[in-house]
Amino acid sequence: MGYPNKLVCKNISFSVGIGKCTAIVGVNGIGKSTLLRTLGKLQPLLGGSICIDGTSIGEMKPHQFAKRTSVVLTEPVASKNLTVQELVALGRQPYTNWLGNLTPYDRKKVGEALDVLELNDLGDKKCFELSDGQLQRVLIARALAQDTDIILLDEPTTHLDLFHKVKILKLLKSIAHHTNKTLVFTTHEIEMAIQLCDTMLILDGNENRFDQPCKLIENKAFERLFPTETVQFDAATGTFRIQK
């Protein structure tokens, strides 16, 4: 995967099951976001295949694919003047008619998404009035309202404080486990991901290991992630230590 004139990363192979929460980690520029965008069909695949239930995503029409996979990206929404309610309701677009009218069922789904993300009090607020943490929750609610089997999130915890980072990640885990959705997200919070995720993909541009966090620790996969003279992974606690 990558761009027409630049190969970003190759030799990546993994598969995630229903109701699992998966983190993609790796150093800056290794291609986490590129991988996520490729999985989300936002940029073309250079080689290999990506399948949902055995069907290649390349063969799916845009509106079919939109019913299977939703995304939460790092880019800001274009119109900050949307209300929370409107923004989440846009998640229903793959199901609405040619004018985008919401049916009672659509409204119910939007309501459920707002419930799960605890956004009911903010429904009429405009996006520019929200904090970063609230906006992130709104974007996740939108993806949830899209009612897809798979939700891809690009760095859902950036710009958030420790408390909100943990809150969002725990929320993602509970969404995956309770609604049987497959969640894949990129993150720099390796320590939190080790504690919270079912599986992890470590992008290092070489082996690109994919396994359960405990197995990855056993195999010393995290040790090779960063140069050891700067930070070192402590397998006992599952944390990184700064080398003095």
Binding site: R37, G40, K41, L42, P62, H63, Q64, F65, A66, K67, T69, S70, V71, L73, E75, P76, V77, A78, S79, K80, N81, L82, E86, L87, L90, G91, Q93, P94, T96, W98, L99, G100, N101, Q146
Partner: protein, 321 residues
């Protein structure tokens, strides 16, 4: 109706009403003026205003840029080029012949040819570039090229031709015959229908292109539809009424200030109504002096409209986009 009763020839409001409802009035030439000049003019203003407002909204949403207007793709510059070549260019090559050649119809044809030439070039480029912002800049570049060619033509043209061209750039709601008006309204209708078909995609674009794509919006198709709709609307308006400035940029902003929504299901009909009302009012103001001279519509739209937009923005203290 107030619009129709105003004009260079003073016709009383009651007589206007009588004529419109098919009653006889004393002066038959007034009747002629009303049916063949004033009514078509009002229709032109309504259609042009609605079309400009709508194409402005389409461009602002597509480019996610509050500064975009109907003419960012270089459509009006293309039309200007067509008109300039007809008025000033032909003189250079054909001399006296041209005097008989230039009239309203040929001017409309030339400017629509010009605008569609530029539109097709832009669509051609649009297939190559993936980035919508690049498209915006390319549109502006096409505009610069055509403006430059017009300058060269103006430099060599004689003063009479130059004046004729300048008058065209002022814009005018008048001078359309009923058959011309028929073609004009058909084109505006096609443009409006195309725009309505893109309402859902336009709402998707509010989240940004990547999100729109993830919602199942076919970016390529919807982008073409939006560009073509704008081309038809803005192109035909420029052809029939000249390059009317400002309305296309301002009307979507005014509408957003008043309706405070981002949903295109509401915005599209709203800009149609606002656009036609505002251009109709501007046209009335242009007629108001009540003398033989009618002010250029283009001056009125900006002089009256710009302070309104500034006032609205200052009052609300924030731009809604």
């Amino acid at each position: 109706m107030v619009n129709i009763s105003l004009g260079s020839v003073a016709i009383s409001f009651s007589d206007t009403l009588k004529t419109l409802f098919g009653l006889k009035i004393d002066n038959p030439s007034w009747e002629y003026i009303i049916w063949n000049y004033r009514v078509p003019k009002a229709f032109t203003a309504v259609l042009a205003g609605a079309g400009l407002g709508l194409s402005g909204l389409l461009m602002q949403t597509l480019f996610r840029n509050p500064l975009a207007g109907p003419f960012v793709l270089g459509i009006s510059s293309g039309a200007s080029l067509g008109a300039a070549i007809l008025i000033m260019g032909i003189t250079l090559f054909a001399g006296v012949l041209s005097a008989t050649f230039i009239n309203d119809v040929s001017l409309a044809i030339a400017s629509s040819l010009g605008s569609f030439l530029v539109l097709f070039l832009v669509i051609g480029v649009a297939t190559r570039v993936k980035d919508t912002m690049a498209l915006l800049i390319i549109g502006l570049m096409f505009g610069s090229i055509t403006t430059a060619v017009v300058s060269v033509l103006s430099y060599f043209a004689d003063s009479e031709k130059l004046q004729q061209y300048v008058f065209w750039t002022f814009g005018s709601m008048g001078g359309l015959s009923w058959p011309q008006l028929g073609i004009f309204s058909a084109m505006i209708l096609v443009g409006i229908l195309l725009s309505i078909s893109t309402i859902k995609s336009l709402n998707g674009y509010l989240l940004g292109e990547n999100y729109a794509q993830s919602l199942g919006v076919n970016l390529k198709t919807s982008r073409y539809l939006i560009i073509i709709a704008t081309g038809i609307l803005a192109g035909s308006i420029t052809a029939f009424a000249g390059p009317i400035a400002f309305i296309g940029l301002a009307v979507p902003h005014l509408t957003r200030q008043i309706f405070d929504t981002t949903d295109h299901k509401i915005l599209v009909p709203a800009v149609l109504i606002y656009g036609s009302c505002i251009l109709l009012i501007c046209d009335m103001i242009a007629q108001l002096p009540g003398q033989a001279a009618v002010l250029p519509i283009n001056a009125i739209t900006s002089i009256m409209g710009a302070p309104v937009v500034i006032w609205l923005l200052v009052r609300k203290r924030k731009m809604i986009f």
